[in-house]
Amino acid sequence: MKEHIPFELLSEYVDGTLDAKESRELEKHLSSCSVCRGELDSLCRLCDALHSFRCVKIKDRDAFVRCTMKRMRSRTVRHIVYRYLMPASAAAVVLFFAGISLFDSAFQSRSVSEFARQQKPALSQPAVQQVQQNRIADVDFEDNVGAEYRIKDIRRILEKNGAQVTKVTGDYVEGEALLSDYQNIRGDFDFVALPPTLAGRGMNLAGAGDSDMRIGSANRSAQVVTFRIRRK
């Protein structure tokens, strides 16, 4: 080499990454060039100084290992809690409330119809026979409301009073309710005319709001009746 050795070649020579031929040529030049020898010398001192940084260590090595392992263990516990226990707990809570909700709606849906089925047998035998005799088209009572009532208005009033709607057509709504509720329904419709009395057939319906309806000897207000509200 006629010129001085480039710094990057000296750098690679110090690191031992030159091939044999390059190393020989470089050493040959160094043997006759004091400038390059000086550069190599200062580079070696630099690398040695950097290497001596290895004296830098953690002061209390044993304590560091203990602290690190302790922190690792606590993170493991937290990891298990957050990854497994909390989602499982959350799922359990959700299932619990879902179960309550399902149970509650199942219980609610049993309301009138289930209650009706339970209560209907409470009617004494003679009362049942009388009601069956007086049924108009398979319902216990039929009322007519003005045409100004839309079907959805009728449904709203029925459901507001706890009745269960069992059939809806363009002309009428059928349902079942506790007798006391049916009286309230009639009150909401503001019936002026009483429904046809059934006195002639052994039954007498009182006016709206009067819960003292006589159908057999059973508890009248707790009895379930079926009805049809027709738009006319």
Partner: protein, 190 residues
């Protein structure tokens, strides 16, 4: 610790013996600390960062597939941690003060000029000057010189750790050394 010993410890950990990880921490704590100390420049922060790295390594052991030496992978995780750390904390060691401005609280970063613990670590004047000049180098050069000249990693491993090509490793090494040498020479230390 040889790579074989590292793999033996890792097998134990995979088998459920998590306490075996203490062996890894003990073996590599100084190396990782030195690397982080050279990059961060503050003893306490470098110490906390070292612990963070070991926790992170433990939690991500499942992603080590054995394609490189464990030590190379460990340095890679450390280098990534350092990059994220720099992004979050910047270069200077700062403390925040709260100051009321027009009735509103503000956070003003000011440089921490309190006596630093690391000033006591390097008693040798030369080493202290070296640390000072090293801290002033561009981050890329500082990282490369730390891995090559302080930790003694071969070029190929450095390329893997830093995710750059071998030729780039060589270029950064010689440019970093050249820059540091000039600075130290200006201070009359080389």
């Amino acid at each position: 610790m040889s790579d074989q010993t590292d793999m033996e410890i890792l097998e134990k950990i995979k088998a459920g013996d998590r306490e075996a990880y203490a062996g890894i921490v003990s073996e590599y704590q100084d190396r990782i600390f030195r690397y982080l100390y050279a990059r961060i420049g503050n003893y306490d922060e470098a110490l906390d960062a070292t612990q963070d790295v070991f926790i992170q390594v433990m939690e991500s052991l499942g992603s080590f597939r054995g394609e490189s030496k464990f030590s190379t992978w460990l340095y890679s995780v450390t280098a990534n941690y350092c990059r994220n750390y720099k992004r979050k904390h910047g270069r200077a060691v700062v403390v925040s003060i709260h100051r009321s401005v027009g009735g509103e609280e503000m956070e003003l970063p000011i440089e921490d000029e309190r006596e630093r613990v690391e000033d006591k670590i390097l008693e040798d004047e030369m080493l202290e000057a070296m640390r000072d000049e090293l801290s002033k180098l561009p981050d890329d050069y500082r990282e490369i010189l730390t891995l090559r000249d302080i930790e003694g990693l071969p070029y190929e491993e450095i390329a893997t750790v830093t995710d750059i090509s071998l030729s780039n490793v060589k270029v950064r090494i010689h440019r970093g050394r050249e820059m540091l040498k000039k600075r130290l020479a200006q201070r009359g230390l080389l």
